[in-house]
């Protein structure tokens, strides 16, 4: 709600359902793949699409944050995993853990898991920045009318209440309430009036809202849903290919191609693995390719 900002490119103009299917497919694939080549393929696709959407900068800040987690995963895995055979460093005794043994396999496993984490974080970043939350919510509106309306209303009222809080805090301070001094308990006590003013005003506001909804016939009969989003050929194309990628991914998972064995010694990655992984990645690049093509050969 606060992060979404429309940009004029193909990724932003996709039907929200298309975007959600694409993101969902990548997410599911990231969970079922453990092969680093496949995960790397996914990561590259997601980042190219992020780039096409013009959100590289936002993606970077997500990555900066997740690198700390990557470091933790690798570190913990290296310290605790004992299944690797290729020892590259053997060191001092550490209490609780025992002798420090760093194996190539443990590092690789940590990196492999991190790759999965990065794919998931990147695809969430893609979702946050390119799918209008309002529209996504509206899609859900077909499923459960009243609860979605309740969420919509709270999303609308939430920023209002934050503004109320700021404004009323200022007013209270101007009435001599020392909000920033005193013990935690005292300060909590001093915010009580602010909360009660917000509650009272919200109560009045919600009554007025209910009145306005009643006046516009809410609940007077079966509702219909207004579609503001158009389905374009590219939406169908992207959905079809996303489902194809999902199908291929599931097949290769069943066949065991997209699985990978780290311990006791790293499995060799064959040329065939690279080919299949890059094929799936290529399929998922479609939104970015369409965006590029649309700019190069405009209608």
């Amino acid at each position: 709600m606060l992060t979404y900002q429309f940009k004029d490119n193909l990724i932003y103009k996709l039907h929200p359902l298309t975007s959600i299917i694409f993101v969902g497919v990548v997410f599911v694939l990231a969970l079922i793949f453990s092969h680093p080549a496949y995960l790397l393929g996914l990561l590259i696709s997601v980042w190219v699409v992020l780039g096409a959407a013009g959100n590289l900068k936002e993606g970077q800040s997500y990555i900066k944050f997740s690198l700390i987690m990557v470091l933790m995963i690798v570190l913990i895995n290296v310290l605790f995993a004992r299944a690797g055979t290729t020892i590259i460093y053997r060191g001092v005794d550490i209490p609780l853990i025992g002798a420090l043994e760093i194996s190539l396999e443990a590092i690789a496993y940590g990196l492999g898991m991190s790759l999965r984490l990065l794919v998931i974080i990147s695809v969430f970043c893609l979702y946050t920045y390119t799918v209008n939350p309002d529209k996504a919510l509206h899609l859900g509106g077909r499923l459960g009318g009243k609860s979605v309306l309740a969420i919509t209303l709270s999303l609308r009222l939430f920023p209002l209440m934050i503004k109320d809080f700021q404004r009323i805090s200022e007013i209270q301070r101007c009435r001599g309430v020392k909000l920033s001094t005193g013990s935690l308990w005292q300060r909590a006590k001093k915010t009580l009036p602010i909360i009660s003013i917000i509650l009272l005003s919200s109560l009045e506001r919600s009554l007025q809202l209910a009145e306005s909804m009643q006046a516009r016939g809410y609940g007077s009969g079966p509702r219909s849903t207004y579609d503001r989003d158009l389905w374009r050929p590219r939406d169908y194309l992207i959905i079809a290919l996303s489902i194809m990628a999902l199908f291929l991914g599931i097949c290769s998972a069943i066949k065991g191609w997209s699985a990978y064995r780290y311990y006791p010694i790293l499995e060799e990655i064959s040329g065939l693995d690279w080919i299949l992984a890059s094929f799936i990645a290529m399929i998922l690049l479609l939104p970015a390719i369409l965006n590029w093509g649309g700019k190069k050969w405009p209608l």
């Binding site: 709600m1 429309f6 309002d134 509206h138 309306l149 919509t152 209303l153 999303l155 609308r156 920023p159 209002l160 109320d164 404004r167 009323i168 200022e170 007013i171 301070r173 101007c174 009435r175 001599g176 309430v177 020392k178 920033s180 009036p193 009660s196 003013i197 009272l200 005003s201 009045e204 506001r205 007025q208 809202l209 209910a210 009145e211 306005s212 909804m213 009643q214 006046a215 516009r216 016939g217 809410y218 609940g219 007077s220 009969g221 079966p222 509702r223 219909s224 849903t225 207004y226 579609d227 503001r228």
Partner: protein, 565 residues
């Protein structure tokens, strides 16, 4: 056939014994634009609620009598039929918009009616073109200004294509420019599409030239039903009670004239013929502007070379200088975004300067906590509801006293008496009317005996009577030594009650002077009375002076004049 016909209608809110509407009979022909005025509690909002069916379906309560819309009894109509016959727009845009997005908001009612997709698209198209919202369809509601929000609310109602539109003070929360735009839209709907309009509106100067008919309500009954006459010919202001008249006709009514002008043009014609009729020797008002207000005392606030910008935004205040002295009564005028509210927040310490200095009685505001400043600078914001949370009026006032460790209950009693609040001493402030709520909030900030009172848009949502009460109260407070600074869009109010005017433009004070110097020869920032007397009689911008001048002019020739006009 009448668009609305009300027969012998009485309505009681739940658990009340006094009727909110008492035996009303009213017929509104199709295509009429009717304006309803009246005090709060007079039943005008209830009238709209009954016509729209909200009372009793939403409010419950007891309804006696009948309401017909285009000949059909409302009792026999389904809710879906009802909302397609009559739409209602409320006062506060913030609390009637349901969705996050403009387009979704417009179709909300259509979805409720279960209309097919194509028809909804068509209605959205028509609404957005006719109200000029095309560019805003994809926008979030939170991005819109108050005026735009109110337009969206109107669009959401109009999309259902009702033949009757009811509006409950639709412009009271808007600035004058947005209010005028909305009223223009309403006039167009009425004139071009023949939609019947019933509108509650306090400020008749904004809209009475649009009205075919004006209803005055008092205590649940229609106290007066005035036809304003043909729109094409010369129209005169109906002789409503003084409390409901805008400044211009009010002036002529007070001076005893029988015919009251609506527009400045009419007023000037009358004035010019008066001037011509009176002999030159007795022409009044050519003297110097009167000296106003108490003697100025010491400096309270000294703002030097103030610059301010919010983080990552453009500068809002640019190199501003201002001195406020004891006894000052200053009105800050200027358009939206000129920096008026930001300046106020520097005076009460809520904001600290980026560059420059704000000195309070010699001390730099940077060295003072907001709470320390609060003891000498009282602040009243736009919405009195932001103050009220205590169970009784007295507690509300004592709350401020306790914060400043003052325990002067006798003064609390005195201030309640002065603000005419003793009767509600033990009542819940939230149960009071708008004007009374504002008086409680004002009492609650003034009880600490501040040296300076600052107000942000104090006249928003007030009718003429309440404005007069507020203005006189502020003058009284000012007369007792408290300096007053108010931000307002209401030029008439500023001209009537303030002493000095500061005009703000793009973050700077471009002029400061007595109201006679600043307001008299301006074209936009001048009250109606200023426009009336401009270049005819000097130094007349307040009601008292205006009445005196008129009486002086008309006195000797009044009988003669009456026959001419």
């Amino acid at each position: 056939m009448a668009a609305i016909k009300i027969q012998d209608l009485s309505y009681y809110y739940p658990e009340t014994i006094k009727p909110a509407l008492n035996r009303i009979n009213l017929e509104i022909p199709e295509g009429q634009l009717l304006i309803v005025i009246g005090d709060s509690g007079s039943g005008k909002s209830t009238l709209l609620r009954v016509v729209s069916g909200l009372a009793p379906t939403f409010y419950n309560g007891n309804l006696h009598g009948k309401v017909f819309l285009h000949g059909e009894d409302t009792v026999k109509m389904s809710r879906q039929e009802m909302v397609q016959k009559v739409g209602i727009v409320f006062q506060n845009p913030e609390s009637q918009l349901v969705m996050n997005n403009v387009e979704q908001e417009i179709v909300f009612g259509l979805e409720n009616l279960g209309l097919p997709g194509n028809l909804m698209k068509r209605r959205v198209m028509e609404m957005s073109s006719s109200l000029g919202l095309s560019g805003d369809l994809v926008k979030g509601v939170a991005e819109l200004s108050g005026g735009q929000k109110q337009k969206v609310a109107l669009a959401g109602v109009l999309a259902m294509q009702p033949g009757i539109i009811l509006l409950d003070e639709p412009t009271s929360q808007l600035d004058p420019v947005a209010a005028e735009e909305l009223l223009n839209i309403i006039r167009r709907l009425n004139e071009d599409n023949g939609i019947t309009v019933v509108m509650i509106e306090q400020r008749l100067e904004r809209c009475c030239h649009l009205a075919d008919r004006i209803l005055i309500m008092e205590n649940g009954v229609i106290a007066a039903d005035i036809n304003t006459g043909s729109r094409g010919g010369r129209m005169w202001m109906p002789r409503a009670p003084l409390a409901y008249l805008p400044p211009l006709p009010n002036l002529f009514a007070r001076a005893g004239f029988q015919e009251l002008p609506i527009t400045v043009k009419q007023g000037r014609q009358m004035l010019n013929s008066l001037m011509a009729a009176s002999d030159s020797a007795s022409k009044p008002g050519q003297d110097t502007p009167p000296v106003i207000g108490p003697v100025k005392g010491q400096e309270l606030i000294d703002i030097q070379n103030l610059w301010f910008s919010y983080p990552d935004k453009e500068e809002v205040i640019k190199n501003l200088n201002l001195i406020i002295r004891e006894g000052d009564f200053i009105a800050l005028l200027g358009e939206n975004g000129a920096g008026k509210t930001t300046l106020l927040k520097h005076i009460n310490g809520l904001l600290k300067p980026c560059r420059g200095q704000v000195k309070l009685a010699g001390q730099d505001s940077k060295d003072l906590a907001i709470e320390e400043i609060a003891a000498s600078v009282a602040y009243l914001s736009q919405d009195p509801n932001d103050y009220l949370f205590m169970p009784s009026v007295k507690d509300e006032i004592l709350f401020t006293l306790k914060n400043f460790n003052l325990d002067d209950e006798t003064y609390a009693e005195e201030i309640m008496k002065r603000f005419k609040l003793e009767a509600y001493r033990h009542g819940n402030p939230r149960d009071l009317s708008t004007g009374e709520r504002q008086r409680v909030a004002l009492a609650a900030v003034l009880v600490s005996k501040p040296r300076l009172l600052i107000l942000d848009e104090p006249t928003r949502g007030l009718d003429y009577g309440l404005k007069k009460e507020l203005g006189e109260l502020l003058q009284e407070i000012n007369g007792q030594g408290t300096a007053v600074v108010m931000v307002t869009h209401d030029v008439d109010f500023a001209a009537e009650y303030a002493q000095d005017i500061c005009l703000m433009f793009q973050g700077q004070i471009i002029e400061r002077g007595s109201k006679y110097e600043v307001l008299q020869h301006s074209t936009y920032y001048t009250p109606q009375l200023g426009k009336l007397f401009n270049n005819i009689v000097d130094n007349v911008i307040t009601m008292d002076r205006g009445v005196r001048v008129l009486l002086e002019l008309a006195g000797p020739i009044k009988s003669e004049l009456a026959s001419v006009l």
